[in-house]
Assembly symmetry: C2
């Protein structure tokens, strides 16, 4: 057994619970602490032996943790936690507001560099594994086009938006790729597709007592940015059906790059994910990147990095020689 | 425009011609020479301005070439050329005898390190892109199983084997994944599959005048190692049909990793290639890795390396900041 990598978690929502499960699947890692803004007695770790601390304790534990995984949200938590903890720890996070990544990178890079820490931002599957496949696809087939489809999957942000509509007691929203668009892209045809042509949206809604179904439907399908550019179906169900049939956090999607290497020859590359649990898969990605961050830091690569900066071999617990012999 | 990377090609078969096409698609690269064992006047480059040299001239051109791409075969050419040219140039090759990779790596590593060169071995799609997906899949889902399927595709080695059967005037062989096996694997079921259950083989054969079709069929389907472990179909066609319908060097396949992140949740990752031209796609991969090798050498990473050692961002002509802003 190689040295153990000591991992800690900041935050204990869906992602934090997924991380507990993911770390347990990796024998070269130990979960040395869960840090939360909630009082420690309210946190129930999956392994009762896992220490739980108030998040303020992180200022004193720098010698006990090799990599700190930040589970906060991209809107409120990470813009503050990312730079703060990158000054103290090697970190991994799943910052996923695509448009703000350059700014966030800069705010994390500075404290990490100043303190010889390595901070990997925006890991997960998108941004993350999908991003890697967008970059490699474009590099291999420069004369081509890239398409990202999401779904079938439960979108947390869109489900929240439906729940805010007056008259809605509960709801989930699924994003689904449009089959005709996917088939065209898979053929190598490189179509130009509108937002509406790529994805459709399907809502399952529980009405409040006395709410008007038609009004609720209209408020959903016309909602700017979230639904107005899509074909949206609204299904009304009971609270029992919602609880019974729609609790799984399934998600996935695919990145397709098609291109021509010569006028006669079309090539198609497809990377697809079918996820039984979105947060558990995201957690598994964060844990593999925690291993890479630990190694990059030992190699002296300080500052902020992304999945684009990590060689595949660094993600594996196996040595370079083992990987060449077994998996090349 | 960034600096131009000066690429040369050793060998001018299918792969060498694919490289010419691939380099032409990458504005940051120039093809500065084609080197061949054949007399230069027998080589017809796609761009008539491309210089052609006898391969012996490589001993004198070390200042004029940034990366030399070796197009020789894994059996005869590369075991000799790999170490020889890694002492003189940064190199990329597609050595694909999986079982001999560790030995080959060692013989290339030593001269490359001794002369501050970077030599990337075994690039292409398998070994290559498929290998990367085997490593990442295993790292993300340690509690899982990996399956590699090849095809539908034309196998050069198996076609050659059929052509050696007495009575065969011409032939091609297609490798096809067995649909039932693929469906099981995609479901996340992690089946144990025999060789016969994973792939089937289909041959299209032109008989020599007077040859006995039944004897030829029997000789093919019982051929040890190549066909005896598979369900093989032999179709007899005319020379005209062979030339008309079976000249495309189509290939492809997929790597599927399925695993559980918790007892309730199965995750499936699939990487798939559908290639209109196997040699042209392989060439495109080699060219992207030539860019990475050029950069690794400038960064001081000397010796033999593989696709496992190359961060995705190094494959792209775009800067790290551009990649973060556009593709993360």
């Amino acid at each position: 057994m190689a040295e153990q990598i000591r991992i800690a978690i900041a935050g204990h929502g869906n992602l934090g619970r997924g991380l507990e499960a993911a770390i347990a699947k990796n024998p070269d890692m130990s979960l040395v602490g869960i840090y939360s803004r909630r009082p420690p007695e309210q946190i129930k770790p999956q392994d009762a032996a896992t220490p739980v601390y108030e998040i303020a304790a992180l200022k004193d534990h720098t010698d006990a943790i090799d990599v700190l995984i930040l589970c906060g949200g991209s809107k409120e938590d990470l813009p503050q936690q990312g730079p703060e903890y990158a000054a103290l720890y090697n970190t991994v996070d799943s910052f996923d507001t695509h448009a703000r990544i350059p700014d966030y990178f800069a705010t994390v890079d500075e404290p990490a560099k100043a303190n010889n820490r390595t901070a990997l931002i925006s890991a997960g599957w998108d941004p993350g594994m999908f991003s890697i496949n967008r970059v490699i696809g474009e590099a291999l087939l420069p004369d081509g086009a890239t398409y990202t489809f999401w779904g079938d999957g439960l979108s947390q942000g869109h489900s929240d938006a439906v729940r805010r509509v007056p008259g809605v007691a509960g709801a989930v929203q699924y994003t689904r790729p449009v089959k005709e668009a996917v088939d065209q892209v898979r053929s190598g045809a490189r179509p130009t597709l509108t937002t509406r042509e790529k994805h459709k949206r399907e809502c399952f809604v529980v009405l409040e007592e006395g709410a008007d179904a038609n009004k609720v439907r209209e408020a959903i399908v016309t909602m700017p940015h979230y639904f107005d550019e899509y074909d949206t179906t609204v299904n009304f169900i009971t609270a029992e059906e919602l609880a019974r049939d729609h609790h799984a956090m399934v998600h996935g999607g695919f990145v397709i790059r098609s291109g021509n290497t010569s006028p006669a020859n079309t090539q198609v590359i497809e990377y697809a994910l079918r996820l039984g649990s979105n947060p558990e898969f995201t957690s598994s990605v964060l844990v593999a990147y925690a291993r890479a961050v630990y190694r990059l830091n030992k190699m002296g690569q300080y500052g902020a990095v992304t999945v684009f900066d990590v060689a595949p071999g660094l993600l594996s617990p196996k040595s370079a020689a083992e990987l060449r012999a077994e998996l090349l």
